[in-house]
């Protein structure tokens, strides 16, 4: 067997992968009685393990099995190999080690070779070739399976359009020729591909290019009694091989096979004259039909998926056929074309029935799951809208709810145990989840109504989120549209563009809305309406103008990166008009040297810009002054990491044959550089976690000069107090301590207070700086797992993040300038929706698609070019690659809360000239002044983000459930659901990571203040 032999590998147009396996055609034309060549059609999913299962058991695949592809378990069903063993045939196997794990201890002799390393084209094939001929000539076998893997790996690594593919195919051609020479008279040679490949060299989906492979049958004796005729099968399904081989070798057909014997391989007349050819066509069909009927009878009793009328029809058909056949046998005739046609029709209809009803559904569980998911989304929405009201209610009794839910779950389990005798865990967990959600919703409804009763004035305000006007506001409307788009296959296929469109539309709403409210332009500049808005002293026109222009500028940046991100999309199978982005091919595959250099320079350039921008941002806010772990990371690890990544690209892009004498070094570098990058990444993240503070407290000596404050005063986060702030307790104390110590110094009083005083650089961005750095480092690490060209896309991602943050900050500032300061830190829906849609947008803009074919398996080998031993590490690397944008945006989500505070200094600077004094310099220290509001806002932000992600999952679950009989369900909706759900899980984990980092910083800041002023801790 040759993994990956596509049927058109012997076409006439001269591509590198075509026209190389001439042996098939030559033999087929020169010796028509000895061989046949058929297109060989696989059932999707076209992954190797599924295919091996398919043509050994003969049954149809179940879709979810795809997850087992790299952790293949032993086949428990009846299969060919098992039957061979039962009869005592000696099965010798060599090649892909997937077989060994599927059929442990079933082979007489086995020579497995590791299959997981895609870069390695030759180990498996050479291993087979060393043993193949000697084994063939020897007498130690009845069935010999040789699974060549090089073509498959070549396709994955280089694509079909590469000289290496041509070499590989020529090698295969030679192998088949020499095997044909050695085949003895009583041997049947079956050469087949288990699946095809797409134009990019991948497989797994169900386009025709992936499912169609070649099947070549050869025997040195004239094996085919009749010359190729019109009524031969034009396409052979893979399952048909099972009964054919079983009957030819004289073993029982595996129990669950639904295949149909290949008639041309059996003699048309009479019972077997000689032992080699086995039963006649009619006999073979009869045995096959009986076996299929038996399986159908058992299966229909067990699964009940087949409609009864179809089943009755099939049963009748079989009874008619069997009586006819028995009559026929009694008459002693040997061949009847009508009967064999009828038997074939019966087999085909059974197969079609099974295929139609193979996937059967449990509607009850579906509905239960949908309800639980919907309630969970509703719960997130409630929490995000009512967080203030809910927390005001101190005795919320969450514990009671959890307890009740657990009790209900245990009760359900006990009930199941009593009534059924076994426990189905899914139902218990569903009951628990449902109860807890219901309990929570009831409690929140009660607390809402009690709030209404208590203070009528505030009642309507807290209830306002239920009105249709609120629910149809632009951000929620866009979310709704996005969810609706998941229900249509056309929109799912065009998802990348649809999401970009929605992001653009929603972003456009922000300036339009601000303009509508008259906030975008300074009010007093308009001579026509001088006194509509009372010109408050807090909104000087200069500030408004500045903020407005900032907003417009960042909007332009956002739009630019949105538009450019469209150029990085990948293409689905079957989209003929679509051209995949040239940046998606890894540099090793680019043949033109000049183009390669340009791509490389572009990638390294964007890598440099990424690093520079991060450092620039941190430096601007004064976070690079101290000497903690985070600052060390920003100073050294970040640049070092990007250098590592850039060097790794250079090494992996270097052509393999041009530096022969440096091959050792290159191999070493390919191993060492990415691993060093992983280590640096881990070290950096750990350092940030351990020591997240980026505050530099300057001990002001007595002989302070102006030159000490080289960083301009805007770095200073908290230098003085305003009278109102004295009401709050912690920060003012620090200020007072600082001021007092300053007074002590200036008055020259006896002891020199060694306590640090006065200036704390970077205190204003103490929360956002570690988070930003964390995101940046993580982005570099994730970038390494992508093709080199994606560096540009990642740069766009950074730009878009920055643009979104700044737009949010500017619009918040503009709103605040005109209204009374609201006091809370709520993040409105619009930026959160934009943020979460941007995650989906960059999922597509980093070359991913919601289909299994487009998973970048190559990511598993970055830093591990020789393959893995386990499956955990490669799986996690592939997940990190696939959901890179989800990870980035989820971790960075809390930045939405901080950014308006970070930017507020800049806003006030424009208005107040040298605004050193006053409250405006406090920045993120505001959060510490109101710790409860801070945690509430954090809770609200994360539940809002979760709600938007969760609603998308809910919509795709709905799509898959409602459209489960749709033509596209296995091609579009089911993969979309799985990707959406896994993306949601990854997002949840990363959001939790981001939030916990913020909390970690909060704790660290608390310690910092305690250390600074021990008195504050009393």
């Amino acid at each position: 067997m040759i993994d990956f032999a596509r049927f058109d590998a012997n076409n006439t147009s001269p591509m590198p992968f075509e026209n190389k396996l001439r042996v098939f055609e030559e033999t087929a034309s020169s010796r028509p009685a000895q061989c046949r060549l058929y297109p060989f059609r696989a059932d999707p999913p076209t992954t190797t393990m599924q295919r091996i299962k398919g043509f050994t058991t003969g049954s149809l695949p179940t879709f979810v099995d795809i997850s087992n592809n790299f952790a293949s378990n032993a086949i428990s069903e009846d299969n060919l190999i098992h039957q061979f063993g039962q009869v005592g045939k000696r099965v010798v196997f060599m090649g892909d080690d997937t077989w060994e794990s599927l059929f442990p201890n079933k082979f007489y002799r086995s020579l497995p070779f590791p299959s997981f390393n895609l870069k390695d084209l030759h180990t498996v094939d050479n291993g087979i070739l060393q043993n193949l001929y000697t084994t063939m000539v020897g007498d130690e076998w009845d069935v010999l399976v040789a699974h060549f893997l090089g073509v498959d790996h070549c396709g994955h690594t280089f694509g079909p359009d590469h000289p290496a593919m041509a070499d590989k195919l020529i090698q295969m051609d030679g192998v088949i020729r020499s095997v044909i020479e050695r085949v003895q008279n009583d041997t049947l040679l079956v050469v087949m591909g288990d699946h095809g490949m797409t134009d990019t060299g991948d497989h797994g989906g169900e386009s025709q290019k992936e499912t169609d492979a070649a099947l070549f049958l050869y025997s040195s004796a004239p094996f085919f009694p009749t010359p190729p005729s019109q009524n031969e099968p034009r396409v052979v399904p893979q399952t048909d091989l099972v009964p054919t081989l079983a009957l030819l070798l004289g073993v029982p057909i595996p129990y669950s096979s639904v295949g149909q014997v290949l008639l041309p391989l059996f003699p048309p007349h009479g019972p077997a004259q000689d032992a080699v050819t086995g039963p006649s066509q009619l006999e073979a069909l009869w045995i096959n039909a009986k076996q299929v009927n038996r399986f159908l009878a058992t299966y229909s009793v067990m699964a009940k998926g087949i409609p009864p009328e179809t089943l009755a029809l099939l049963k009748d058909q079989f009874e008619n056929l069997s009586s006819e056949y028995l009559k026929f046998i009694k008459e002693g005739r040997s061949s009847s074309p009508e009967l064999s046609v009828a038997l074939q029709a019966y087999l085909t209809s059974v197969r079609d029935t099974c295929r139609a009803t193979w996937a059967h559904f449990n509607p009850l569980k579906m509905v239960a799951g949908l309800i639980i998911l919907a309630l969970a989304c509703l719960m997130c929405f409630t929490v995000s809208e009512m967080s203030f009201a809910l927390v005001r209610e101190h005795n919320f009794r969450l514990k009671a709810g959890v307890l009740v839910a657990l009790i209900v779950g245990v009760c359900v389990a006990a009930g199941q145990l009593l009534s059924w005798g076994y426990i189905e865990l899914a139902w218990c967990m569903a009951a628990t989840a449902f109860t807890s959600e219901l309990f929570f919703l009831c409690r929140s409804y009660q607390s809402k109504s009690s709030a209404v009763v208590k203070n009528g004035a505030k009642g309507p305000k807290s209830a306002s989120w239920m009105t249709p006007h609120y629910l149809l506001s632009p951000p929620l409307l866009v979310t709704l549209l996005r969810c609706a788009s998941l229900l249509s296959d056309s929109y799912v296929i065009a998802e990348g563009r649809v999401v970009t469109f929605l992001v653009f539309s929603l972003a456009l709403c922000i300036p339009l809305r601000l303009n509508w409210d008259g906030l975008l332009l300074p009010a007093s500049q308009d001579p026509l309406k001088p006194t509509l808005l009372v010109p408050s002293p807090a909104s000087p026109p200069l500030t408004v103008k500045k903020e407005g222009s900032t907003l417009v500028a960042f909007f332009a940046l956002l739009v630019g990166s949105l538009y450019l991100s469209l150029f990085f999309h990948s293409c689905r199978e079957g989209q003929h008009t679509c051209q995949p982005s040239p940046f998606l091919t890894s540099l090793a595959r680019v043949k033109d040297n000049q183009l390669k250099n340009i791509f490389y320079i572009l990638s390294v350039f964007s890598l440099g810009v990424w690093t520079y921008l991060l450092r620039r941002c941190l430096r601007y806010y004064g976070n690079l002054n101290s000497s903690g772990g985070t600052v060390f990371t920003a100073r050294w690890i970040l640049p070092l990491l990007s250098v590592c990544v850039g060097l790794h690209w250079a090494v992996s892009a270097s052509p393999q044959d041009s530096f022969r004498n440096l091959a050792e070094l290159i191999n070493l570098a390919q191993l060492a550089l990415p691993r060093a990058a992983y280590c640096l990444l881990g070290l950096g993240l750990a350092l940030i976690w351990l020591d997240p503070l980026t505050v530099f407290v300057k001990i002001r000596p007595a002989n302070m000069t102006k030159s000490w404050s080289v960083p301009p005063p805007r770095y200073r986060a908290s230098t003085s107090i305003s009278p109102q702030a004295e009401l709050h307790h912690l920060i003012p104390q620090i200020y007072q301590r600082m001021r007092r110590s300053l007074d002590d110094e200036t008055s020259g009083g006896g002891e020199v207070d060694n306590r640090p005083a006065v200036e704390a650089y970077g205190l204003g961005t103490v929360y956002s700086a570690p988070l930003l750095l964390f995101c940046g480092l993580l982005g570099l690490g994730l970038l390494q797992l992508h093709p080199e060209g994606m560096a540009l896309s990642f740069l766009l991602l950074l730009f878009e993040m920055g643009a979104l943050l700044h737009i949010h900050a500017s619009s918040t500032t503009l709103c605040d300038l005109h209204r009374v300061y609201s006091g809370g830190f709520n993040v409105p829906w619009t930026p959160v929706v934009l943020w979460s849609l941007a995650a989906t947008q960059f999922f597509h803009a980093t070359g991913h698609l919601a289909s299994f074919t487009s998973i970048h398996w190559g990511a598993a080998f970055v830093g591990f070019p020789n393959g893995h031993t386990g499956t955990l590490l490669p799986a996690s690397l592939v997940i990190l690659n696939t959901f890179a944008s989800h990870i980035m945006f989820a971790v960075g989500c809390p930045l939405l809360l901080f950014w308006p505070l970070v930017c507020e200094v800049r806003g006030s600077k424009g208005g107040k000239g040298s605004g050193e004094e006053g409250e405006d310099g406090v920045m993120e220290m505001r959060l510490r002044e109101k710790p409860q509001r801070f945690s509430l806002a954090l809770l609200q932000l994360s539940t809002r983000y979760l709600f938007i992600q969760g609603v998308q999952v809910f919509a795709s679950v709905c799509a898959a459930a409602i459209l489960r009989r749709h033509l596209m369900v296995w091609w579009v909706f089911a993969p979309k659901l799985m990707f959406e759900a896994s993306g949601f899980l990854v997002s949840c984990v990363c959001l939790l990571l981001g939030v916990s980092l913020v909390l970690r910083v909060d704790v660290a800041v608390g310690h910092f203040f305690k250390r600074l002023i021990p008195d504050a801790s009393r």
Partner: protein, 219 residues
């Protein structure tokens, strides 16, 4: 309140809608093989021309154009030239926005530009007629307190509905129904047209319904 204006508005809008109808029907009689789908660009230009001509004529006759301080010929000429320039710039602006929304950059530039011309003649031209070539005033009109007459409110409604119609029209494009109106830019231009027509109906109706609440500070 505002009864006179509403009546004028209704008759203006009826005439404009009629002109759209005429611009669709008359070429069908004159040009062989004319159809809205088949020769879409021709339809776009004929409708744009008709709407432009009727709007200019009406708003000039009704005298809703902004007050001009000078009445010299040179000033009027310069206003005219600036208006033409603004119209062209707005075509370019719409073209850019449409491309940023995801329209093909090079492939069907003519179609995209035609859609931009249609949108400009449905929206920008009205602004030009009512407010003159004054960007500040345009921006001002589209704010909550920006409308200073019934006509400004009417402008808000029609422009918003036209743009919204074109936006909604884009939703038909990805669907795989293979209908003739899914070809770029037919669904968008039809959406814009329908939005515009509904705006012509909705604006007087809305103003009449809310005529008690409407107050304009400066006029």
């Amino acid at each position: 309140m505002w009864d006179h204006e509403i009546r004028a508005m209704v008759s203006t809008h009826a005439t404009i809608a009629l002109s759209v109808l005429v611009a669709t029907v008359v070429p069908a009689a004159l040009v062989p093989g004319f159809s809205v789908y088949g020769t879409h660009l021709l339809w776009i230009y004929s409708v744009s021309g008709a709407v432009a001509a009727v709007s200019v004529a009406f708003f000039w006759l009704l005298g809703i154009s902004p007050p001009t301080r000078k009445h010299t010929l040179g000033y009027k000429l310069s206003r005219l030239i600036r208006s033409c320039l603004y119209f062209f710039l707005s075509c370019l602006f719409f073209h850019t926005v449409i491309v940023l929304y995801g329209a093909p950059l090079i492939d069907s530039a003519l179609e995209t530009f035609s859609l931009a011309v249609l949108l400009s003649s449905l929206t920008t031209l009205r602004c030009l007629c009512m407010l003159g070539p004054n960007l500040q005033a345009w921006i001002r009109v589209f704010s909550r307190h920006g409308a200073m007459s019934v006509w400004d409110t009417c402008l808000q409604i029609t422009v918003a509905l036209t743009v919204l119609g074109a936006w909604v029209g884009a939703f038909a494009i990805p669907l795989d129904w293979g209908k003739p109106w899914q070809v770029w830019p037919i669904s968008c231009s039809l959406g814009a047209m329908l939005g515009y027509l509904s705006g012509l109906v909705a604006a007087p109706a809305w103003i009449r319904y809310h005529r008690k609440q409407l107050t304009y500070k400066c006029k």
